[in-house]
Structure formats: structure tokens, C-alpha cells
Amino acid sequence: MSKGLERRKAILSDPVAQFERAVEIREFENQINALFASGTIRGTTHLCLGQEALVIGMASVLRTDDPVSATYRSHGIALALGITPESAMGEIMGKAIGCCGGLGGSMHLCDIELGLLPTSAIIGGGMPIAAGAALAFQIQGNDRVAVALFGDGATNIGAFHETLNLAAIWKLPVVFICDNNVYAEYSRINLTTPIEDLHIRAESYAMPHFALDGMDIDAVREGVQSAVDRARSGGGPTLIEAKTYRFAGHSRADQALYRPEGELDSWKSRDPLLLLEERVKKSGKMTESEIAEMKVRIAKEIEATVALCQAAPEPTTKTMFENIWSRKVSQ
């Protein structure tokens, strides 16, 4: 079994592994943030801080043959699905060991073995693709399910509307998960749409829908599982709205000065890492000191990953001419 598959298997039911993965994502994102801030990495990046429970919860109830289309806010979902830190960070650094060979960057992670379709940097871009994957499964007559993960801001774009309608009329095995983290770039959601509960948009397509607490991994697991079960058993698509919050700015440069006072703090009091920690403590699966050790261990691992990726070779020029077409066509 590949490292990625092992990592995926680990979080399926083990709360300790789920907590560890959350710590890993947090650490990973903080390191990435620092590397961008220092100019070590170029381009742009979108962190998943505060949304760890959502991505891990999702990943823990999906099968590896259930493909996920996600967005440029890709690191968390990639790690949750099992991608190794080297593979993700290598990509973000543009190295040959990266999951896209260094040609994609932070916005374009991909690992088909783990079900991660190439993440899209176009708002709404991944949604029709998930529906299309689901169409394939429906026609093939298997029980695979496709998942689209997208932001609150994406619910205002045409592709959202068209895709939900298409999925509904064709009863496709697809689950739409809206990560409502309150902001789209620098705009609070209330400034760009007059409704608050985005999931009600599913009514326009007679599609089942509900909201869930995206900070609480058990709520995520239960909600996503129910929608996946419906899709797998031929019951068609579901729209889920996960209420979360983006702890960092939108992207590299953003200080998020536009937040109303107190908003961040109030959400931080329900930081998914705190909740996950409580969960393992309450169940007696980890002691305080084990937790502390684990955090140190993971911090070291991520530091080692940084070193490993920095030392890793750049892709050769040749690679940029590969994978344009499946077969080379003389031009």
C-alpha cells in the first residue's frame, strides 16, 4: 500500500489519527504561510486554517475511489485525503517531487490514487467536473460517488446553478459541499448575496440539503456520510453547507482587516483543533503529555519536510513539454 493510502486509511475511524492529521494540517499551513511571507515561495497561496475538521471529516467517510473536486484552497483537503506533506509541499515549492511535478503550484494539487482531482483555480470550475465523474459512475453502474468542495462565494456563479440542476435532473451520485467560511476574498458573504443559509438554494432543484457545523468533525462525518449514502444507493445528489470560518486572510498578502471586531475570536473559541483535542481527551485516548509530544513530533516532521523539499531538485525543462497530449503529435 502506498504511503498516501496508508495515511488515508489511518483517519477513517481513529479519532487520534484524525486529531493528528488536523495538527499536521495546521502546522503545514503555518509553515507555508511563513515560507510565502519570507518570499521563499513565489506565487500565491490559500490556507485552510480553521477548516481542518471539515476536510478531515469529509475524507474520513469517503472511499479512495470517490473522486473529490476542490479549489485552490487545496492543501488541507489534499493532506486530509492522504497526500504526503512532501508531495504537497514539494508541489507548492515547484519541485519535481511535488504531486504535479512542480508544474501546478499551490492552487493545483492532484492525486488520483487518493481521489483528489486536479484542484481548480477558477471559481465553480470543479463543480461540473464532479457531476461528470458522477455521470460516469452512474453509467458504469458502480457505486462510486463524486464530491465537489467549493466556497460560499462560489454559490453565486453560474456553474453552481447549472451543475446542481443537471445533477438533480439526472439524479447523479454526487455530493456538493459548500465550505461557507463567511468570506469570499475580502468580501463578507452578506455583501454579495442576500441570503444567509446558502444550502436553501438546493430547493431550486428539488435537491435535499442541510447545513452542518463544519468545526465539529462528528457533525461533518455524520452529515457527509448521510449524503454519500444517499448518492451511493441511487438517491441522487445533496447540497451540504458546512458552516466554517477562515482563520487566515484570503491569500498570501491578505491581513483580513475587514473583519468585524470579535468575529475571529468568537470562531476561534470553537477552533476545530481545540474540539478535536477535547474529543481525544474526553474519550481517554490521549493524555495531555501525549498530546504535547505529538505536537512537537509533527512540528519536527513538517520542519523536516520543509528541509527535504527545499533540497529537492527542480523539474527538468523537458517536463514542461510532457502531458500536453497523451501522445506526442508532431507540430
Binding site: P67, P128, F137, I139, Q140, T163, W325, S326
Partner: protein
């Protein structure tokens, strides 16, 4: 060899692929029960049933993207964009997602899909339903762009497109749908290979789609011995065949159903010049549409499109003067 209309050649090519390859599926607006507004999917629903042949809502973005997604998961979707203009609401999925998906997955995924679209003027469909718009999909590494010109090329190229492991844009000249031609269903045509549809030694015309017929008609009444190349593939176009021909004839005329500004023919001219600068006997020229939207009025639409009379006028002038003639709208002071 059966004679069939271009629209039947298209339906037959799809059906033949669907029979051989169970992963081929077809969808688009009104292409199933209604068999398409141009009857290019005739018989498919009946033979292959509603699972593989589907009508979609009016949602080009969603269903083009659905084709991309289905293609990544082992299907070969052949979808129909009824008029190429409708790609204007869906370009993202084809060009920014589908065509880049192999690259952005580091080769983990292929996207074998065909987007068929009807193109071109001549039928009085007006400014928003009569363009060719190859320029929208040019400059898209990862996407192949094909344009048949008759029943045989429609059949053979469409089969090649469906068999291809990568996304293909397939541009069908609407005017040709009703035209008949013999079709050898065993004849294979390769993507990226042009056809010399008429040999000649004095001048090379490069054309595609319905302009291939315009070139044929022009050549039939010309005093010059014209070689006609039907380009067939716009991206990646067959430089080799074109260069060989122009090397022989020393003269190049590109006939394009596109406004002068932004047409694909410039690239053919530029590439030929780059390779054969010293061998050219006369200046290579382009015959295009003027830089205006497609007019509805029948007389104006006929003038708008390159036609055999104008092609021959341009060629005769070119031969006589050695210089690039003015297009008709400049000559007439518009």
C-alpha cells in the same frame, strides 16, 4: 461506397464508435429524442438508449464540464454545442479545465472527449449564429481542433476524434450538413494531417470547412493550375503538407471564413514565410471576411463570405501583378 449527407456521416461515425466502444456517450441539447436541430444525432437514441444518449438542460457550462469529468473517469463523451457561439457561456470548462487537466494532473488523467459544434455563415442565421470562432479555442495547448469539409472527412475525422485520448474540438460547417458525398467507412484520417483535395502545380490554396468547397469551385473555373489543401486539423495543423505544396507551387493563398482580424490563416502565412521565404514566387495572401459581424440579409451575407469569384479575382490579380491585391471592401471604398 454509400453516399450520405454530412449530417448522416456524423451520426454514422458516432454510431460506429458507440458500437465498438461502450464508453462512448453522447449528450447535448435536444440531441436525443429530437436527434438534434440539424439531425446530426439521428438514430442514436433509438439504437443506444437513454443512458448513453441524453438531452441536457440549457446549461452549456455544466454539461461541457460534465463531459470533462466523465472523461477523466473512463468515459468518452461526445457532446454537442448547437452553435459555436454558445461556447461563449462555457469556454472555461473546455479551455481552462478540460484542455489543461492532463497537464495539471501531471499526466495522471486523460480527458478523451469531443466537443462538436456547428459553425459558419450562409444560412441567414444572423450575427449571433453564423460565426466560425476558431480563435476562441486557438492558443489552447492540450486541445486539438478539427474541421471537416465533406461527408468523408466528417466521418473519418470524427471517428479519429472520438478515438483520440485527448480533448478535441470538432467544428462542423453548418452549410455542409445537407451536402452529399461518398463515404468509405474504412478510410482512416489522421488528426494533424491535411488532405490534398486537388493537385496542382502553380499555386496552393489552403482552406478548411465550407471554404474547401469555395476553393474547389474557384479552381474549377480558374486558368491557373491550383493545388487545394483541405487543412482538416487547425490545431496542430499540418505544416509538412502545406510546406511541401508551397515549395512546389511557390504560391500560397489562404481562404478563411473568419474576419481578417484574428483569423487562423495568418499563422499559416507566417509559418510558410518563415520556412520558404526564399522559395516564394509571389507574396502569400489571405482571403477572408471583412471585419464586421455576419449580416443577416442574404445578399450581404453572400458578399461577406469568401466566394469563388472573389477567390479567382484575387488569384488572377496576384498572378498578374505579383502583389497582394486589396480585399473587395477596400477596392470598393468601405
Amino acid at each position: 461506397m454509400p453516399a450520405m449527407r454530412v449530417r448522416q456521416a456524423i451520426a454514422t461515425a458516432i454510431a460506429d464508435e458507440m458500437r465498438t466502444d461502450p464508453t462512448v456517450i453522447v449528450f447535448g441539447e435536444d440531441i436525443a429524442a429530437a436527434e438534434g436541430p440539424f439531425k446530426t444525432t439521428e438514430g442514436l437514441l433509438e439504437e443506444f438508449g437513454p443512458v448513453r444518449v441524453r438531452d441536457t438542460p440549457i446549461s452549456e457550462m455544466a454539461f461541457t464540464g460534465a463531459a470533462v469529468g466523465a472523461a477523466t473517469m473512463g468515459m468518452k463523451p461526445v457532446i454537442e454545442i448547437m452553435f459555436i457561439e454558445f461556447l461563449g457561456v462555457a469556454l472555461d470548462q473546455l479551455v481552462t479545465e478540460g484542455a489543461k487537466m492532463r497537464y495539471l494532473s501531471n499526466g495522471q488523467l486523460s480527458v478523451p472527449m469531443v466537443v462538436r459544434a456547428s459553425v459558419g455563415g450562409g444560412l441567414g442565421f444572423g450575427g449571433q449564429h453564423s460565426q466560425t470562432l476558431e480563435n476562441w479555442v486557438a492558443a489552447t495547448p492540450g486541445l486539438k481542433v478539427l474541421a471537416p469539409s465533406d461527408a468523408q472527412s466528417a466521418y473519418s475525422l470524427l471517428r479519429a476524434a472520438i478515438q483520440d485520448p485527448d480533448p478535441v474540438m470538432f467544428l462542423e460547417s453548418r452549410v455542409t450538413y445537407a451536402e452529399r458525398g461518398e463515404v468509405d467507412t474504412n478510410l482512416k484520417m489522421e488528426i494533424g494531417k491535411a488532405r490534398v483535395v486537388k493537385p496542382g502545380k502553380d499555386l496552393t490554396i489552403v482552406a478548411l470547412g465550407q471554404m474547401t468547397n469555395v476553393a474547389r469551385q474557384a479552381a474549377a473555373t480558374s486558368g491557373i493550375d491550383i493545388e487545394i489543401i483541405d487543412l482538416c486539423t487547425i490545431v496542430p495543423w499540418d505544416k509538412k503538407t502545406v510546406l511541401e505544396s508551397v515549395k512546389k507551387t511557390g504560391r500560397l493563398v489562404v481562404v478563411e471564413e473568419q474576419p481578417e482580424s484574428g483569423g487562423w490563416g495568418s499563422e499559416v502565412v507566417a509559418a510558410v514565410v518563415a520556412e520558404l521565404f526564399a522559395d516564394l514566387k509571389t507574396v502569400p495572401i489571405r482571403i477572408t471576411c471583412p471585419n464586421v459581424p455576419v449580416p443577416y440579409n442574404g445578399g450581404l451575407e453572400a458578399r461577406f463570405l469568401p466566394n469563388p469569384v472573389e477567390v479567382n479575382y484575387q488569384i488572377d490579380q496576384l498572378m498578374a501583378t505579383g502583389k497582394a491585391p486589396q480585399p473587395w471592401w477596400t477596392r470598393e471604398g468601405f
